[in-house]
Amino acid sequence: MEFGFTPEQELIRKAAREFAETVIAPRVAEMERTRQPPLDIFHAMAEQGFLGITIPPEYGGSGLGHLARLLVIEEIARISPAMGFMLQVFALGAAPLLDFGTPEQKARHLPALARGEYFATVSVTEATGGSDPFGITTTAEREGDHYILTGRKVFITGSSLCYLHTVTAVTGQDERGRKVITAFLVTQDMPGFKVGREEHKVGLWGTQLGEFALDHVAVPAENIVGKEGDGIKVVMKAISETGRPGIAATALGIIARALQEAVKFANERVVGGRPIGEYQAIQFKIADMSVLLDAARLLCYRGAWMKDQGMRCDVEMSKAKLFATEAAMTAARHCGEIFGGYGWLEEYVSQQLYRDAAILIPSAGTSEAMRIVTGRAALKG
């Protein structure tokens, strides 16, 4: 068993760190103030090749893989969890194509996604709730060589920002009366695609979350991803094996930052004539954060390694997502508490980490959903 990174992976981490510190860091205050997604940063990330990490070279990416992707997201999220989160979403958007796309679909979209010409996401959740993908009511009715999609998607990160959406819709019923769900590639320029309301989150400012409606949108049949009826398989593979680790890596960035800031503060802040880091009450908190970071990293890196080997890793990724996002909440809270009264002042980063971490918990499946996946797998033995 080896735990070291290859020189190439170290280089990738360094490149991402340098980018985060020079390009993103100077913009964080502005994002926190305006809460607007910084399009130029997304394009700069594309230029750097961060959007094409999971896309193979024949489609214009670098094909460096999922472990490399996690390293990049972690480093970006350490400076801006919001930017780490958006980076994660863009790779999620490419995942259905990578996993199930036809050569034509891949050739059409992947090079553009790698270059950042437009962005993609996976749009599943409806008003019925994200944890119940079978509960959707969006319909797709066949008309000649097209399907007519009608419905509404909510809680979509990048709803208005992303041009390409992998959308699930009900295309019929099977012989036992269950919904047949199919995944379609829908683009914003299709007539009837209507961007809806924007949601206002308490954190991850710089990301974009909202709704869109499909009002009799005619989608060519060749835009089906996988086969008719494969919809749940297509989107769940993307969400569980690409989305969740992406969220988990965002959490890694938060834990690493919380630890870094807490250490800096504890070494500097003097109370009772000694830096507070010399008090065990503080040391224990820092020790816990340090263990959380290591443990969360190991879970995440293992899952990514499996994905890079082509192994199924949905359960491992669920564990990683569950642990890392919960750990991010704990670490951000510890950080804020080590800061004392300063911890929850607007100008200190701890409060931002805490708000940002909270949003990771329900993203791509709540902790409870992760436990259900993990529990079921464990019970199967």
């Binding site: 100077p26 205050a29 800096k264 500097e268 802040r269 300063y342 100008e347 200190y348 980063v349």
Partner: protein, 329 residues
């Protein structure tokens, strides 16, 4: 008797002040250790400058006067210096750490296969008769001594403005040695075209080499103005603590510390800053930290290399005046 040589650098017929500064220090060393102090003057039509060099203490001036030495080029200047050194074998050869000195000295040292130190701020001769060249280390964090035990001459480029300028003694004379030089235009591979004057561009705070920061102790906008004026004189970037931000004296990107930016200048000067860790955490990586504060118990003094206890309104104008005097001279 061994000789200590100083390259008398002239540009357009004007001696560089640093050359006189080195001669001044050279005179002291020569007197104390029994050395000859001699200057080397390169240029075209610059003979009259020899008088100043004698007045500054040189016992001899080697003058190489040639049209191809009118403008500086490493090739021509190094060829002449190499020829002179090989002929007269001085023990020490000092140059100013100017644009010319830092370009020329390494070339001369390599041609002579001898040692060279740069940015020298102190010169001593030790008990073995070796020249101890004091240079700053790690961006001003430390200092170290460089020696050149075997090879000769011992060479160094000396930072301008560090050594005191000597009192000139007009009328003092010395030996003027005219040097025959054979220079070939074809062997000169760089050619000066023209000169473009340029102002120091203001640097962004996080990249600035010098930062002047102010805090609540400055009181009002008039007090704050001192920070800006000092920064201007130094070509420094301006930063501050929370109160100046609240007052609107600085922008958001200028607050230094835990919730602001981290700065890494060679020199940081904090004025009227108490030194709470929320601020000092942002200056940990500064090379040299100077604090000016009227409260002797202010925590900033524990975080500073040098401190002046005093009223900023009195101390800072003195500092500005001293620095301005320097740039004029």
């Amino acid at each position: 008797m061994t000789a200590l040589w100083v390259l008398a650098e002239q540009r357009r017929g004007l001696l560089q002040p640093v050359s006189l500064e080195i001669l001044g220090r050279g005179r002291e060393l020569a007197d104390r250790h029994g050395l000859l102090l001699e200057a080397v003057l390169l240029g075209n039509g610059v003979e009259t400058l020899a008088e100043d060099l004698f007045a500054a203490g040189a016992e001899a001036v080697y003058l190489a006067d040639h049209p191809l030495l009118a403008d500086y080029s490493a090739d021509a200047y190094a060829a002449v210096l190499e020829q002179l050194v090989r002929e007269h074998r001085p023990d020490i050869l000092l140059l100013g750490h100017t644009a010319v000195g830092r370009d020329l000295a390494p070339v001369v040292a390599a041609r002579l296969e001898t040692g060279l130190s740069a940015h020298v701020t102190g010169l001593e001769i030790d008990e073995r008769g070796l020249l101890r060249q004091i240079v700053p280390a790690w961006g001003g964090r430390g200092m170290c001594a460089i020696l050149c035990p075997q090879a000769r001459p011992q060479m160094a480029t000396v930072r301008p403005g560090v050594l005191p300028r000597p009192l000139l003694q007009p009328g003092r004379t010395g030996r003027l040695v005219r040097v025959e030089v054979a220079l070939d235009l074809a062997a000169i591979r760089t050619r000066l075209l023209d000169f473009v004057p340029q102002e120091t561009a203001a640097q962004p705070l996080t990249e600035a080499e010098v930062v002047v920061a102010g805090g609540a102790g400055l009181g009002d906008r008039e007090g704050w103005h001192l920070v800006e004026r000092l920064a201007e004189v130094l070509g420094a970037a301006v930063g501050g603590t929370r109160p100046p931000l609240d007052q609107g004296w600085i922008g958001e990107g200028q607050m230094i510390g835990q919730s602001g930016v981290t700065v890494r200048p060679r020199l940081y000067i904090g004025i009227g800053i108490s030194g709470e860790m929320q601020h000092t955490v942002g200056i940990r990586d500064a090379g040299v930290v100077v604090a000016i504060n009227c409260d002797p118990r202010a925590r900033i003094f524990q975080e500073a290399d040098f401190g002046i206890v005093g009223d900023a309104r009195e101390v800072v104008p003195l500092l500005i005046a001293a620095l301005e005097g320097e740039t004029r001279g």
